[in-house]
Every structure is written in C-alpha cells, then in structure tokens.
Symmetry: C2
Subunit: 426 residues, 2 copies
C-alpha cells in the first residue's frame, strides 16, 4: 500500500475495502486491552508459591525478625534482601534500599524529598525558582505525572536508537541550573524498548560534572533482567561508571520485582551513594516505621539467588515472546505506513504512525473494541507534537487475542492513513 | 516515702540506701527495653498463619485479582477488605480506603496533600502563611514529627482525663484560621491510655463548624479494638456524629492491623467522607499504582469476620494484661512520688514524676540497663515544659523482665526524687 504514489481512485478503492473490514471488526464486538505493561495471569502464576514460602519462619538468615516494627537500622530493608537484589542493580548491598511494593513510590519520594527538603549536599530544589526535569520522549507517563504533582516542569528531549540525544541533554543541563533531574528507563526503554548504548551511559556518568548542584539522574532500571531473547544487549553499569568520574551522588537507580513476582505485591529498591541513602532514609523515617519486611523475606526465600531469578525470568520470556512475535509479524503489513521497534526485552512495542494520526487510530481501535494506551501518554502533559506515537502493550491478552487485536490495529492504521491521504489530495 | 515531711538526715539515709540499690541493679547488667509500643513475639505468633493462608487462591470473593496491578478503581483497596475493616472504624465500606502496611504513612500523606495541594473544598494549607496543628500533650511523637517534616507548627493543648481540653481547643481554632489540624488518639490515648468521653467526642464533631476552611481532625484510632479488660470504655463514633452536624469533611479516621496481626506487615486504613476520599485517591494515584492487594486478601482470609477479630484481640489482651499488671503493681511504691494512668487498653502507661525529673530518671534507668522512651518525646519538639512525663511501654519484655525493669524504674524515681529534695533543702 504505497499511499504517496497511489491515484485518488485507488485510494478511494482502498478506503471502501477498509471501511468494510472495519465494520466487520466492529460487529465482532471485541473487548481487548493492550493499554498497560502488566504481567498476564500465566506470568503471575509463576510466583504463587510466594504465599506460604516462609513456613512459619519469620527471621532471615541474619536473624532479623521481620514481623515486628524495627528501628531506623531496618528502614532500608532486611540485610538478606539487600544482598539478593543489589547485584540486580549492579551495586553493593550497602548501596541499596529495599522498600515496599512500588518503585514508583520510591521515585515519587525521591522527587518529593529533593523538591521540598533538598538532596545530599544541596538545598531544596524549590528554593531557586521553577524546577525542571528532562523527559526523553517518548517516555513513561507515570514518571511525568510524578513531576506534574509537584509542579516540576518537564522539558522533552529526543530519544535516539541508543538512548536520549546526549548533545541536547548536556547542552540543556549546562545552560539551565534549574534542571534538577532526568527520567530514564535505560534498558528496554518504556515505550521504545531500546537499550542505552555504552557510550550514552558513559556520558550520563559525566552529567553530574556539568549539571547544577542537586541534579539527579532518575535511572529507572525497571526491566533490568526482563529480556525476551538471549541476544538482548547488556546495559553498562552507570553506578560503577559514576564512581570513576566522582559523580556517584548524581545517580539514583530504581528497580522492583513487580514484573518478576507479583505486580501488586513485590518489593521495590533504590540504589544510591551512601550520602544519598543516608538522607533518603532520614526523610523516609518521618513517614514510616518499617517497610513490609515479611514480604521482603518471602522474596528472599522464594527467589533465593540470581540463578533462580534468571530461571524465573526465562519462564516470563517464554510467555511473552510469542505475544510480541504475534504483534511484530502482523505489523509487517504496515511497512509503508509507519515505523516500530523490535525490542529484545521489556513490555512494549512503540509504533510511530504518519504524523497526525495517533489519536485517530487509538480512537478507531477503541471503537472496534481494542483499548490502546491513550495517544500522547508517552509525552509530558499528553502532548505528542507530531501526534504519531502509539504504545502497544501485548503482555496480558492471549496470543490469539493479540493476533485479533493487532489485526484490528493494522486495519485502523491503514484506514486512518488512507483517509488522511485522501483528505490531503481533495 | 513522704519527701516533703522527711528531715534532711532521713532524706540522706534514704539516698544512701537507694544508691546501694542502684549500684546493685547496675551491677546486674540488665538489658531491657520499654521504649516503644511493639507487640511481643508471643503476640506476633498469633498471626503466623497469615503467610500461606491464601492456599493458591489470589482472588477475593468479589472476584478481584490481587496479584496484578489494577486501575484507579482499586487504588483504595479490595472490596472485601473494605467490608471487613469499615466496622472497625465505625464507617460504611464506601467510606474507607485500605492502604499498605502503615497508618503513619497514610497520615503523612494526608498531611502532605493538605499542605501542598489542599483538601476537599479548600486550597493548599501552605498558601495562607504558616500552618499550625494542635497537639494534645502528652501525645505520640510520630504524629508531631510528621508536622515537623512539613514545617507545620505544633501548638500544645492540655489533655484531661476525658480527652483534650476542649475549651482550649475551641478557643484556639476559633481564633486562628491557620490551625488546620489536630492530632488525636481517641481510644487508649498514646501515652496516657485514656478514652475520650462522649461529651468530648460530641464537641469534636462540631469543631468543623467553628474551625477555618480546610481544617481536619486526625483521629488516629490506632487502638480501636485493643482492650485490656472487658470493662474498657467505648469510644463514641465521631464519624457518625459529624454527619449529624454536617461536618463530615472535617474528619479523617485512621487505623491499622499493625497491632492486630504483624506490626511490619499489616494493612492500614483511612476512613473519610466521599469528597475527602475522592481527592485523597486522586493524589495517591501520582505516587502508586496499587496497594499490596495480596496482603489485603491475606488479612481478609485470616481474620474473616469481626467475631474472629475480637477473639484474636482477646488473645492479645491475655498476653498484655499480666505485663501491664506487673508494672502497675510495682508503681504502687511510688504513690507519693508521682502519678500514673491505669489504662484499660492500648500499649502504654503514662507516668508523671515530680516536675524536673523525667530526663534524670530516664538517664538513670538507661545507665542501669533499662531503656525507656526518651523524656520529652511525648511533647512537640521533645519539649516537656515540666520535664515530668515518662511513657512506659511494657508489651515486649516477658513478665519477669518487666518486673525487673519496673523495679529499676521505681528505684530510679525514688533516687532522683530524694536527690532533688535534698538539693532543694541544702
């Protein structure tokens, strides 16, 4: 379907056929959801043994009682959980904090503390006027809304195939001392699925030298071990590199087991320098007495070690691969009408339509019973200036449902594109 | 030991004997802790069956999948948990939000949202100048530090045997529109153990009519079902009364299972009017996707119904009663040297020394191996103007340990009091 070279009668013919296809799909009364990066029920089942894994033993191997409150010494989690999860983020056990069920909450708190109280070595961000964060786009809507809740302004930055446009990032942080952070999903980026290259990570490690005091990289390594294929690219260790440049304090690394065990009942972690962790623990202590240490211990007992962790992730991959394949195979029909990523991990496929069509396509799909992430959601304030990015999240539906949903999507993209081309011509 | 009538030689004689007692205690090398209101290991054991109670079933009776993320509809918890815990706070299931493992976190968030974003029908507290909260004293240090973290000024208010001095409370909120909240532990108050009288609760229900817009009562019903004896006084239902006066929006009620099941791994709740809950859910949605619904379901399955809940609380009481009795029996020796409460529930005994002695006594006890809550902790900014209040928390040590610890306490009170009296005379 080569729209640019097609005659108007040809376009009209296509439109008529597509209108019929679309009407047929609508009549089928589908109800499919590809909106969010959730695990499927099959994936959740893999961790059912979490409940009951303790078998009446509520102390960890270090002798920590998990059921009770604890003092300030355990506000950052139980020692055995630190030991288990530190290598997942590429840090040492004393460089990690183990929290509750949500890494988003840890990120929110890190922003809150920085904004209202300051970060290690630097006063409250909000003391110097309007605070700004860089937002590589397309990106994760929940990152953006954390900033919005505190009135922090988001400045979009372009994403390339190897990570954010670092020329742009460096120029911006150099020029504007009110830029206090940048949001990153460095491995299997949300939504594009790309992995930041070693060169990009190396430049991130040096950002702390040119950025203003109090600047922090929010390195959301949500998909640190979430590969879909064995040849998935590795991510360079930002934390280690930052030590080389003496910029350790500029890095916050986040992760969780939300897509390893249970999405609602996992454990979240934050890796940071000793100075950062000390201050974050201090601020956390105003809002809580102890994280849920029992659930931390469940994870230690259930996962046990890194080999088991990777074995579990292979089972996730086995469930996710055919779902991603089902989408990617069908997208081939759209070669002339858009571009998309073929991620080696994570939860998303990012699709770019011809400019000005994303909203229309998402609406057409919704009316045909296929819910997609709202167009624009991957941009700050929901504003995709090209109106072209659509995030596809194929993890939840079954393979046959995904085939149906993607067929709907393909029809909608074609229909919207043909209609747009006709409108241009006449 | 009647200090006021004793001669100086008599006082000296007592001091010599007490010095000897104290030296002997010190030599015994005790290491006992009565600092915080924690459950004992025996109490924690009562809920060991929580882990594994789900037996592979992760949906609640309403069909809610608990393992996965969920939409905004479940950000306030699963329906069956609302149904179970609403009556504990005396509200309807649609007037409660079920959170994570910490009611302190819910209180912190409620303060944060009010302070920075506003409450239902009223703008951010911090937009009108310095924000103030009333703090009935002695009170709970963790309440005070929440305010301190946001720079909210605490104004102490006197506590009577039936609750806060309501004349004072009413006069203050009438006079100063910057007073936006008041902290209360209305049943088995921390630390005094008293229960607010019906008359006091009725006056609280009318506070919303005289306070400034945006004023909220932080009704921390932490010990709602935590009775030590069958004749424990009931607490009037503030939420119900507030409906009578049309002041529903002025009330936030908090509770948790931290001292019902596991202190670190329970579930917390917040009851409020529909308008309040709607806004709180909105703000919460920036910082989290879902509470730990699996742990909520564990609690639903483990506790089941209110009868089971009360049966469980009776087992807690059976473990706590002898501990409280051990303290109270021994305090009889201090009749002329202080006053104390005899609570019918909760976790604390509040002891008032002669003015100016609390810090000295806590220090003496610490040096003799008995850790007590720091003197002053029950007052905002750690400032007990009379330096007389000491909170005793007898839940954790065994009865024989508590006997030893209280003997140490009694000796320390006597010694400090005699020394003070001698210093006055000479």
């Amino acid at each position: 379907m080569d729209l640019d070279r097609a005659s108007v009668p040809q376009l009209r013919e296509w439109e008529t056929a597509l209108n019929q296809d679309y009407a047929a799909i609508k009549a089928a009364g589908l109800n499919l959801d590809m909106t969010r990066g959730r695990p499927s029920i099959d994936q959740l089942q893999l961790s059912n043994a979490l409940d009951g894994v303790l078998q009446g033993q509520f102390k960890d191997d270090a002798g920590t009682e998990t059921r009770n409150y604890s003092g300030a010494d355990l506000i950052d989690g139980i020692p055995t959980a630190k030991a288990l999860f530190a290598p997942v983020l590429g840090v040492k056990p004393d460089e990690i904090l183990i929290g509750g069920n949500s890494s988003l909450t840890l990120m929110y708190q890190a922003v809150q503390f920085g904004h209202l109280h300051g970060v290690a070595g630097s006063p409250a961000w909000n003391q110097g006027g309007e605070v700004k964060f860089l937002a590589p786009v397309p990106g994760y809507d929940r990152h953006f809304t954390v900033c919005e809740h505190f009135g922090i302004k988001l400045i979009p930055v372009a994403m390339n195939d190897d990570g954010p446009d670092m020329d742009q990032v460096e120029a911006l942080v150099k020029a504007d001392p009110q830029i206090k952070g940048i949001w990153c999903v460095p491995r299997f980026s949300n939504p594009s699925g790309i992995v930041y290259s070693d060169a990009v990570v190396e430049r991130f490690a040096q950002l702390g030298k040119i950025a203003s005091a109090g600047f922090r990289i929010f390195w959301d390594n949500a998909y640190a071990v979430h590969t879909l294929s064995d040849d998935a690219p590795q991510l360079a260790n930002l934390f280690e590199l930052s030590r080389k440049y003496g910029t350790e304090d500029s890095v916050y690394v986040f992760g969780s087991t939300s897509k390893i065990t249970f999405a609602s009942a996992g454990v979240a972690f934050l890796a940071a320098s000793p100075a950062n962790l000390k201050l974050i623990k201090h601020h956390l202590s105003f809002s809580m007495i102890s994280p849920d240490k029992v659930n931390q211990l469940r994870h230690v007992k259930f996962i046990g070690n890194l080999d088991n962790l990777h074995a579990l992730m292979s089972k996730h991959a086995a469930l996710l691969q055919p779902r991603f394949a089902a989408v990617l195979t069908r997208l081939q029909a759209l070669k002339t009408l858009g571009s998309w990523t073929e991620p080696k991990g994570g939860y998303f496929i990012s699709f770019d339509t011809r400019p000005g069509l994303a909203k229309t396509i998402v609406k057409l799909a919704a009316e045909a019973g296929v819910k997609l992430t709202p167009a624009g959601a991957t941009y700050p304030y929901g504003n995709d200036p090209q109106d072209c990015n659509i995030r596809l999240a194929p993890s939840v539906p079954s393979v046959s449902e995904i085939e149906k949903a993607t067929d709907v999507f393909v029809t909608c993209v074609k229909l919207a594109s043909v209609r747009q081309e006709i409108a241009k011509r006449v």
